[in-house]
Subunit: 349 residues, 2 copies
DNA sequence: CTCCGAATTGCATACGAATGCAATACTGCC
DNA sequence: GGCAGTATTGCATTCGTATGCAATTCGGAG
């Protein structure tokens, strides 16, 4: 043990101000650059130096200021993640996974939560001001906004949506394919009249699912189709079912809901308000494969998104683009996983 | 219109480098400080100046660098929000609301998602490095970690947990009170044997709920109590119920689950695997009042957390502490809202 | 027209760390 | 022991914005 430098107040840990690299340098009797180098990975520093600096550092409770570092390195090590509240009830799960993926790579997540998918007004400005290294969004940006982001040379990955007329990276679940499977199974099992419950108008996911279902239905020669729309929530799921029955005059043979939660709403309404047996009297299917879809009171027939693989893919796609900005745009589509539940009568076993 | 400064390449928008306040200043023919002042709220700038600067600014696609600003003002305008994956299925909702609350106040959210509640190792270090202005956590920090944060003079608000032996701000739902209500109603309706399903061992919420329930049960003279534990998830809810029946020898009169999702699991297992009628043969209650609790296949009897008010309160509590660090610690407890569902036979109507 | 006070504006510096370059300390080898 | 070559270290500058202080301008009153 050596005596502390001349005027040391001997304060246990940081008391007055946050310690800076200069403070550490002074205490350790080295230069500021030395301190900086000790706290980096590939920098050259002797063992002795490293020890002296570290000792001084934790005596002062020093830790590098990521803000200052970001300023000089032009790298904030932050990515923006955008979600919208009503986009879909299952996004929270996606969000947690994404955050963990980024964390593993030493990248922090700056979260932006929108009320509705189209509330992207100020968000872009915020992201750019914070100089995020990349953007991962599960909400729709306008072409102008994408243009703005492009000009700032910030890589973007769209999650479950694809830009209209703008070349951009995306990771998505193939909604159309999933709907085709659902429809073909239902039609194959003899269902002739259909109800389609779509989601909020500004949801791309809902649009794709509805379109996928309708196209396949028409292709198979089905034209007894009634359409209503909700907001992806349970309550509107129930309301939609009632509305569907009213519009159609009687319950259709099958209902295709834009997501699981609305499908569950439909099932409850069908059973409770109309005394129908599901799937005896009517088949009801959803999409997503979220937790509640597995509850055995529903045991939904649905298409599960491979969330693990999708988030993994999205995170690494973005990180790759950050490290290598010249990579050309890429679209990755994952097939959904067909789940034969007990909420619909399907063709085979 | 005046001629552009001598060597102007006349690039439409930001092309090469991000424009800085100096670039704007040069183009507008003013000083850098003038630009800085125009982009602040309470700064003095003449109308003429403001216009010239703004014109130059959006010609260059300039936007202030929040990183640099943070460095000089010692304010990052970011708060850290910590959640853990398994803490509770209902947290995603909390998270979205919190983020919106902070956004409204011009504060950005840096998100940290833990695998389990006790994985707080590196998180504290990260938060301090990024110089967040405040911390809102729904995961447990150790006393040492709280100490570290304290030394850095960063205000903290705990969400639904309270520190052991460390004075700190918190916003929580009164779990004990809620459990007391559930228990007294059940006992009042004549239930004599109880099963208690607790959550993961490192969950404070689970601990409080279990303790609250057990204390009240004992106070009312009930001692036929069987305890098992799950992880807050649906699957373990089902397993727990089976385990409960096995340990007890027969189904108890009532089951108190530490959260709604496990309660739902119990209901499904009771009905499907044991052919029991809920609530005819057995009463099952949960806690949280999340979405699926309302699904009419379950219509859980539960205690709903006033999420709106809690998030609102937590956000403003933290923001107050940021603006005024000297505010003394405060604990706010919100009563849960009793929900008389159809999953339990209660005393009165 | 002159002078005073208030409002603007510019100058210079600070925030905290990273890094190119030059100086210095080591290492091994002959 | 001397020398070439490499590994450490320090110096000085940079990132982009905010702000105290001094200089300047402006407005109006006398």
């Amino acid at each position: 043990m050596k005596k502390p430098t001349k005027t040391d107040d001997n304060i246990t840990s940081a008391e007055k101000k946050r310690a800076t690299s200069y403070d550490v340098a002074a205490l350790a009797g080295v230069s500021q650059s030395a301190v900086s180098r000790v706290f980096q990975d590939g920098a050259s520093a002797s063992k002795a130096m490293r020890e002296r600096v570290m000792a001084a550092a934790d005596q002062l409770g020093y830790r590098p200021n990521a803000i200052a570092r970001g300023l000089i390195t032009q790298r904030s090590n932050m990515v923006a993640v955008v979600i919208s509240k009503l986009t879909n009830l299952y996004y929270p799960e996606v969000l947690v996974q994404l955050t963990q993926r980024f964390s593993e790579q030493g990248v922090r997540v700056l979260l932006f939560a929108l009320e509705r998918e189209s509330d992207t007004e100020t968000v872009v400005e915020q992201m750019l001001q914070y100089r995020v290294d990349g953007i991962l969004t599960a909400a729709m940006f306008s072409p102008e906004q994408l243009e703005t982001i492009d000009n700032a040379h910030i890589p973007v990955v769209l999650y479950n949506r694809t830009a209209s007329g703008h070349i951009v990276n995306s990771v998505r679940c193939d909604q159309e394919e999933g709907e085709r499977w659902l429809v073909s199974e239902l039609v194959g099992a003899g269902h002739l009249s259909f109800g389609v419950v779509e989601g909020p108008p500004d949801s791309v996911v809902s649009f794709e699912r509805k379109t996928g279902a309708l196209n396949e239905l028409r292709r198979l020669g089905i034209d007894d189709i009634t359409t209503v729309s909700g907001d992806f929530g349970y309550e509107t799921g129930r309301e939609c079912f009632a509305e569907l029955v009213e519009k159609h005059g009687s319950p259709p043979d099958a209902v295709i809901a834009a997501n699981d939660v609305m499908a569950i709403g439909c099932i409850d309404e069908a059973r409770e308000a109309f005394g129908l047996d599901v799937p005896g009297d009517i088949s009801i299917v959803g999409f997503d494969g979220v937790g509640p879809a597995r509850y055995s009171a529903y045991a939904l027939t649905t298409v599960r998104q491979p969330v693990q693989r999708m988030t993994q893919s999205a995170a690494s796609m973005l990180l790759e683009r950050i490290d290598n900005p010249e990579l050309s745009p890429e679209k990755r589509a994952f097939s959904g996983i067909p789940i034969r539940g007990r909420s619909a009568r399907l063709a085979d076993g």
